[in-house]
């Protein structure tokens, strides 16, 4: 589905991502973990087209996608959410999702129908007439996901969608992510909350200083010495 080959990104002299390679299989939930500043969000920005790689390749369904603008990549079938949520504040929740749904349809009525369906799917329908700026952080995170889904992606990039949620919201978020996978959508997720990442991921890729330190099943990664040293701490050993 998605293949990253020797991906490298330098900001001036700083190597934010260095020779990173991984492969996300269709239908998987693929976790990307690492300490703060490890380069996770940079990887997302590279895949999504906000940044262009210094070197290396990104292949989506076998075709190179680096160099395209974000809107083109979205139309190809890769949607994303933002760690720092970006609600369209002075639009209602429904309008937010409609604006996204227009990615695939042109008619106002069909876009509205699609948006309502997606809101229903993400259990955000009860907020549809609220202004996006009036939502709680939990609902804003959910709106990010809803909006990404409304573009009908094949691959969705979730950037710390569970951060800042309370325990109930956390369980709901996990349930939603699983529900999205059951729709046949491949998921690449960055997450700090181990409860989330360990319980839902099929594979996990751990990075630090922009480089790979381990990859494998959640169990393998949790037991990896390098990962424990860099990130998890003794408790997970």
């Amino acid at each position: 589905m998605l293949e990253v080959k020797n991906l490298t990104k330098y900001f001036g002299g700083l190597g934010a991502v260095r020779k990173l390679s991984f492969k996300v299989e269709k239908g998987d939930i693929f976790g990307l973990i690492g300490p703060n500043g490890a380069g996770k969000t940079t990887v997302f920005n590279l895949i999504n087209g906000f940044y262009h790689p210094t070197s290396g390749e990104i292949l989506f369904k076998g075709k190179p996608i680096s160099g395209f603008k974000p809107n083109v990549i979205c139309r190809m079938g890769i949607a994303r959410t933002f760690q720092v949520v970006k609600p369209l504040s002075r639009m209602t929740v429904l309008e937010n999702v409609m604006a996204s749904a227009f990615c695939r349809v042109d008619s106002l009525n069909i876009a509205k129908e699609e948006a309502l369906k997606t809101l229903e799917f993400c259990s955000l329908i009860h907020r549809k007439d609220y202004l996006a700026k009036s939502l709680t952080i939990g609902d804003r995170k959910r709106l990010e996901i809803t909006r990404a889904l409304a573009t009908r992606p094949e691959l969705i990039l979730l950037d710390e969608t569970a951060a800042g949620l309370n325990p109930t919201e956390l369980d709901q978020a996990i349930a939603l992510i699983k529900k999205i996978r059951d729709q046949g959508i491949t998921i690449l997720i960055v997450e700090h909350i181990m409860k989330v990442i360990m319980s839902i991921s099929d594979r996990i890729h751990a990075i630090n200083y922009g480089q790979t330190i381990a990859e494998g099943t959640p169990q393998e990664v949790a037991n990896n010495k390098g990962v424990i040293e860099a990130y998890l701490g003794e408790a997970y050993a």
Partner: protein, 310 residues
């Protein structure tokens, strides 16, 4: 609730009918002149608002499109003795032609570049129109003989305002409108939702330039005289457009119309009563409105309500 909405939907048509009937009862040329100016400014306010209020791309130089529209009409007559009415076709097209390169260059960037580039372009065009005497007749301007009666001009102005109103209403309530507002709210989010932000900013600019150019061409026909300092004016056109929109309510649909009425009527009244101090008084009033009703006069109800409960 349902009744209220029905009334709301009917209101614009009702106003249109009333405005269409006005000349049957009122033929005072001064009053008609005022109303024509208000109608022109409603069209200009709508144009600026589409780009500045809804798409979030603030322009400090819409006089560019106004002047280009007006001069397109004027130069047709000046050089070829072709009726300035054909300018109402050529004017908006020329205005869009000027908009394309500016949009293509500036909309790739963010921040103040677009606003400043247009500001500069309007000033450059004003100087060109002043100094390229063989082509534009310089500061002397272009004078034509008006051909139709004031009432005819009134109806054309009404059509101008109504059409710009209708078209922009339809645009805002379509996919394009959603995209424009999404770009205003967050460009990164918009881009990652599959919106080609450069393209849609350009579309918004083109529609805005079209109607501004159209209004400019009509102004040439109506006033029968233009010179560079009138139609390319920074204060009287570019800034005035921003004030009309801000005063009425940027990013709202009826705001610019309300702003146009207030600005045109007030500046006229103040000129009559306060003599040389009229700009001073008008300036103070604008400051007052911006400080106390920052969302525009259209939000005055919300403003009053908040006051009461405070």
């Amino acid at each position: 609730m349902e009744r209220k909405r029905q009334f709301k939907n009917l209101l614009p048509w009702l106003i249109l009918v009333i405005l269409a009937l006005v000349p049957l009862f009122e033929r005072n040329p001064y009053l008609l002149h005022m109303m024509i100016m208000v109608l022109i400014w409603i069209c200009l306010g709508q144009s600026w608002n589409l780009l500045g209020g809804f798409t979030g791309q603030v322009s400090f130089g819409h006089a560019t499109f106004y002047g280009v529209g007006a001069y397109s009409a004027g130069l047709l007559y000046f050089h070829k003795e072709i009726s300035t009415w054909y300018g109402m076709i050529l004017g908006p097209i020329m205005a869009m032609a000027f908009a394309v390169p500016i949009g293509l260059i500036c909309f790739r960037l963010r921040g103040a570049y677009f606003a400043l580039a247009l500001l500069a372009l309007a000033e450059v065009l004003r100087l060109v129109a002043t100094n390229w005497i063989s082509f534009t007749n310089g500061s002397v301007g272009i004078l034509i003989v008006p051909v139709v009666s004031k009432i005819s001009y009134y109806y054309i102005a009404l059509a101008l305002a109504a059409v710009s109103f209708y078209v922009i209403y339809r645009v805002i309530h379509s996919k394009w409108g959603f995209y424009f507002i999404a770009i205003r709210e967050d460009q990164d989010a918009a881009e990652s939702m599959g919106i080609n932000t450069t393209r849609y900013k350009l579309i918004s600019l083109l529609i805005s330039a079209f109607f501004t150019g159209l209004a400019g061409a009509f102004y040439m026909n109506y006033m029968a005289f233009i010179d560079p300092h009138v139609v390319f004016s920074l204060v009287d056109v570019s800034i005035m457009m921003i004030l009309v929109v801000m005063l009425g309510g940027a990013g709202t649909f009826y705001g610019p119309a309300i702003g146009a009425v207030i600005m045109i009527v007030l500046s006229e009244v103040f000129r009559a009563y306060f003599g040389h101090a009229n700009l001073l008084i008008l300036g103070m009033l604008i400051i007052f409105i911006i400080v106390f009703i920052p969302d525009g006069v259209i939000e005055i109800r919300r403003f009053l309500k908040r006051k009461k409960y405070a």
